[in-house]
Symmetry: D2
Subunit: 403 residues, 4 copies
Amino acid sequence: MTGKRKIINDPVYGFITINHPLIFKIIAHPSYQRLRRIHQMALAYLVYPGAVHTRLHHSLGAYHLMCNALNELKDKGTLITAEEEVAAKAAILLHDIGHGPFSHALENKLMQGVHHESLSLAIMKQMNEELNGELSMAIDIFTNKYSKRFLHQLVSGQLDVDRMDYLTRDSFFTGVSEGVIGYDRILKMLVVHNDELMVEEKGIYSIEKFLVSRRLMYWQVYLHKTVMAAEKMMVQIIKRVRFLAQHHPNKLKTATAIDFFLFEFGGVIDQEVLNKFCILDDVDFSAAVKTWANNEDIILQTLCKRLLNRQLLKVHIQTMPFDESFIESKTIEAQQKLNISKEEAGYFVFTDEIVNTMYKPDEEQIKILFKNGAVKNISAIEDSLIQQTISAPIKKFYICTLD
Amino acid sequence: MTGKRKIINDPVYGFITINHPLIFKIIAHPSYQRLRRIHQMALAYLVYPGAVHTRLHHSLGAYHLMCNALNELKDKGTLITAEEEVAAKAAILLHDIGHGPFSHALENKLMQGVHHESLSLAIMKQMNEELNGELSMAIDIFTNKYSKRFLHQLVSGQLDVDRMDYLTRDSFFTGVSEGVIGYDRILKMLVVHNDELMVEEKGIYSIEKFLVSRRLMYWQVYLHKTVMAAEKMMVQIIKRVRFLAQHHPNKLKTATAIDFFLFEFGGVIDQEVLNKFCILDDVDFSAAVKTWANNEDIILQTLCKRLLNRQLLKVHIQTMPFDESFIESKTIEAQQKLNISKEEAGYFVFTDEIVNTMYKPDEEQIKILFKNGAVKNISAIEDSLIQQTISAPIKKFYICTLD
Amino acid sequence: MTGKRKIINDPVYGFITINHPLIFKIIAHPSYQRLRRIHQMALAYLVYPGAVHTRLHHSLGAYHLMCNALNELKDKGTLITAEEEVAAKAAILLHDIGHGPFSHALENKLMQGVHHESLSLAIMKQMNEELNGELSMAIDIFTNKYSKRFLHQLVSGQLDVDRMDYLTRDSFFTGVSEGVIGYDRILKMLVVHNDELMVEEKGIYSIEKFLVSRRLMYWQVYLHKTVMAAEKMMVQIIKRVRFLAQHHPNKLKTATAIDFFLFEFGGVIDQEVLNKFCILDDVDFSAAVKTWANNEDIILQTLCKRLLNRQLLKVHIQTMPFDESFIESKTIEAQQKLNISKEEAGYFVFTDEIVNTMYKPDEEQIKILFKNGAVKNISAIEDSLIQQTISAPIKKFYICTLD
Amino acid sequence: MTGKRKIINDPVYGFITINHPLIFKIIAHPSYQRLRRIHQMALAYLVYPGAVHTRLHHSLGAYHLMCNALNELKDKGTLITAEEEVAAKAAILLHDIGHGPFSHALENKLMQGVHHESLSLAIMKQMNEELNGELSMAIDIFTNKYSKRFLHQLVSGQLDVDRMDYLTRDSFFTGVSEGVIGYDRILKMLVVHNDELMVEEKGIYSIEKFLVSRRLMYWQVYLHKTVMAAEKMMVQIIKRVRFLAQHHPNKLKTATAIDFFLFEFGGVIDQEVLNKFCILDDVDFSAAVKTWANNEDIILQTLCKRLLNRQLLKVHIQTMPFDESFIESKTIEAQQKLNISKEEAGYFVFTDEIVNTMYKPDEEQIKILFKNGAVKNISAIEDSLIQQTISAPIKKFYICTLD
């Protein structure tokens, strides 16, 4: 007879089962519950109204895929102990615990120079103390210090359950059905060889499909120009707030947890900062934007109002850098329209570039295990779709303008 | 050649097409965009993590079903002019525009005595002025003053596209696949007879299925005991805030739009109140709860912290009222645990009842049009599942306790 | 470490895994492969073009659900040995092995007085000999002689995986999405109590949904009047062939396996008959109909041609028996149109009745296990949709006519 | 007010609507109904048990996509008359009417040198006479003689609704979800420019996805080695029957419509041959295989029995031709096992090659229409996945052996 057991409805996978005390403890923890208040896809919902799912939901989904992956591998004869199993599940549940408000969109903006993975680790360690070391093996797996490398690869690797879930979940909630990957078939094709995660030969086309779907999701969804415009506006808002705060910080206070990170945080992560971080979420930033929409500064006010009301900056994308003269004319238009200086117009008119690579043969090592025992990187396989020529980074240039 | 045209990805229906200037104007309006920040299912996401979809998404979905319904009816020969068509679409897009934060869960709590439908109407009228009367026919349809009654019935009736969308969408996002209705078949079975919306004879089983799914969604989702516990906690929070505000209102201010409705609103809806309402949303209430979680009042602080961290009240449901002695013992437990008075313990220990009826033959008139021209209420049909005996209201009693 | 392992793509469940030698042997057996050539839904594809799935596919699906059900029960602490597990899986794989051409539609017509379950048992026993007794436990489970009753109930009971699969699969392939049941949730709600299969309290609404979906599938699909007309035509064809064969059997020979059963079979099932049965399938009957479409007998020819070309008899259904005078007038019409006798017209004009009951409280015992340990039949539960009044059989009358 | 109207349930698209007299006539025609008895995917169901869908179902699905495509194009301003609309729909409904038993698998085998498209045309012309010329425009579109070229391209071109449906439907029924294409998005991206069908710029990734899915479907499904083995066995059966028929044709007669094509057809298609063809279908060949399974010729008997019981030849695939010595050793094995001559062993042991090309830039012209009015072949677009290097044909070699 087993102990407590709970099933959670998930529109993506049907049911997710929780049946281990440690998993219950993690999920019940306030730091984990905080992930309910962080959008998985930041502001993508401004283009894809269904994309309002949360980091918590994603990490539960990744946990579910981890359960399936471990079962498949065990079924194929890979030795995985009960302790390793729960550790791997704990590691994936916690892999995103260090995400801040609006995840990647604001990464490095609220806490400059701090990556979410290092925050994840710091929070895991703190939880591990509370849990008397029950998370030690999970942390070893997360940091790739555990002997069975493939467990780390399942958490963070080319075919980890993290990206399998986010591609699946993001395509599900956006309704971009073309982004769907065959996660269940990929899981069935996984195999451990020489302690490394590989893919069976007959899974090659599923992997191609996976990489092409990812490429499609990047260009069609994650780097969608309107989504990008919205997220850049968030960044400009923070930039403006920091600028204004040099003189009148009090006029910018929002009575939310974000104040500390904007006006007080000195760059060092200690216990107190971590505690403050663990109560920070999308609600704080959203509430702040609503407050700043009434700020007397026309730049800040305009950015916030337009973000709230989805009157976003216009974006153009092209494969060549934009002409200086074009940028200047757009800048002048913004100056005139809002009656602001050239410098201030820079909050509304700016260019940047985006780069995405379909598959990096040097870094990304998706290994195929052939029936005859040979192992090849997928990009080295004859007739593979994934080859050098396709692996060059694609760079695009964009400009945001007022209208 | 037609004019501007936009398609929106929807995970539920695939693509939603917008192709009329008035519909574009409505969607672009800040009051409509506000619905992005109101959860369709309030706190149901605490049980169903996928249920984070918004009022905006629901109203777009209902709009899509309206488009389909109108096409089906026209295809069957019902006369609907182009103007009526866009008016019906506008009416359904706006039907929920008067919803406040956390919709039904907080209905009547922030603005006591004010129903969301009257707010919807007030906001529509205001938008109608801005739009120089372009919404007049939509308002007539919404208020059932328009001559073709069936258009109102599509917006608000027993088989309106509102409930068809919310049942479909809510079951989709919760992952409660059993709640799925055959919306597409029901739409194809709709027919207008004597200016009234009816269902073709061969649609009877689809209607049965619709009513049974609705029943299932109520008991399994909308009235799920844990969801109810969370929503009752929100109500207790507001009650406590109002109580404390009698003495120290300033200590309860949150710097959000909710302050006005809690501490200043006098009960009369004028232009200014309406304007303030149109910037109020879930973010405000969520931010307020985060602020109050640090309030010195132990009752308020406890309620807020527990809500944030999903440490919800326990709920028991039964078909009989709870014994006074049981309630009292639970109250004493709460008193002791939190070191509070009996009266204060009432914030954590309380009982109430819930009632739901599968189908009310007297009020709900789903009419079936037989091939021979006869018209019958579905509950009057021989062998129908939906009969008198099944139509009695079901009442259940619940108690919330601290643990 | 396991041995051979195969995954089969299934559009309904994703992947079905085969991983036991006995299961491989059963599936590879010619008698099992024969099920590929028997439509699961007989002639329903004449109305629902997607409904061309096979008995083999259904039994694989039921096997898959059995795997899941056994896992759930074991996970809840029910003791099931590895041997029992494979026996239950074998039993469900073989439960339909005795189905003849066009299953239920021709049941009792080709082999009068022989039910498919007794044929299933006979074939199982024969296979058991070939397999040196490996199927003995499976046969005991199938015939309810095995001590753990719940295993039989999973194969054949009120909530067996057989009907869970056929309702799910038939609604999937017909596209009648309203017939979908929540099979995965029902499986998770199953529990063994006193050696009997029961449903947890919180599964009540899923069971209601299951029964309502079944009701819908019966009236909307299985008893669809056009499907019924087609299947009655098959029966009339056989009746005519038998009639004609009294005089000129050779003119009716088809060179298929069906000849034996129509012209030679004497009613006793011996080894030889069983062997002949095991090569009989839909192909034989379909080929025979194509041959008979050229028969000189106008009755037979007409029935066959019309069935082939989907020029089916017309059907009317009503809740009262049809007037004699109406039947007579339709008979006369047929006589005149085809220039045949009154008796012969009876092949095209005839009436009968159909009966279906949503739930029979006396026979069907879906038991609910309450949290407090109480056990109730679902029809005895307060507020249940499934009550006496709804449990009366529904009888309808139909008439087939030439046009 | 419209006339007769019928909806057909389709598991893939939900509902398919028929609402024009000509379409009703086509569907009711025996030559069209014959397509119910021809598997869309020949013997693929031996590997994918769900793949039992029919040519009729596919052509209905293609018709449905044609309806949607025409609506989209009209909505974008392309002029299409009501007559053209129904003609395009008729053309796609009939595009596969010339398929014989087991479609591609037996193409050129029963009627050597006759391609199914010329048969389709011949049958269309015959139906056109029966229908007093109502199909003339449809035939012009089918044969690309109609002035608006894009109508032909929708029926038969790089992005025609034929392949959109078969890729969608085949991946649906096989359960190979990875083959799913975004047909609805592709349809929304179609545009007519210079009377030619093109794709809007933002549809590029959908097209990439479409080509990659097609590639996956070819290698994983259509050219699946086990499917290929089964289909080659069918070809060997016909070869053997033809060989044996040189001496004893009567011993090979099957009493089915296939006899004519095997033993009498002289290569000229006249009215009579066409009539015989229009009653030929999978049933005939399947029944013949069952009959031949009892033939005294060991080669024929073995091939037929093994095909029936799914004891298929083994297949190996590799990128290099097979060694002569390997082939010879396998041949000898077969000779010994079946006690047959070397020549006869060639029915069981043989090699061949398969070639598939992802995209042929020279022949396949998927044109992209850019916002600035430029038109480019998709393989000529910068950063496109579909480039020269990827467009080389892939050739593989296979060998079939007895075990």
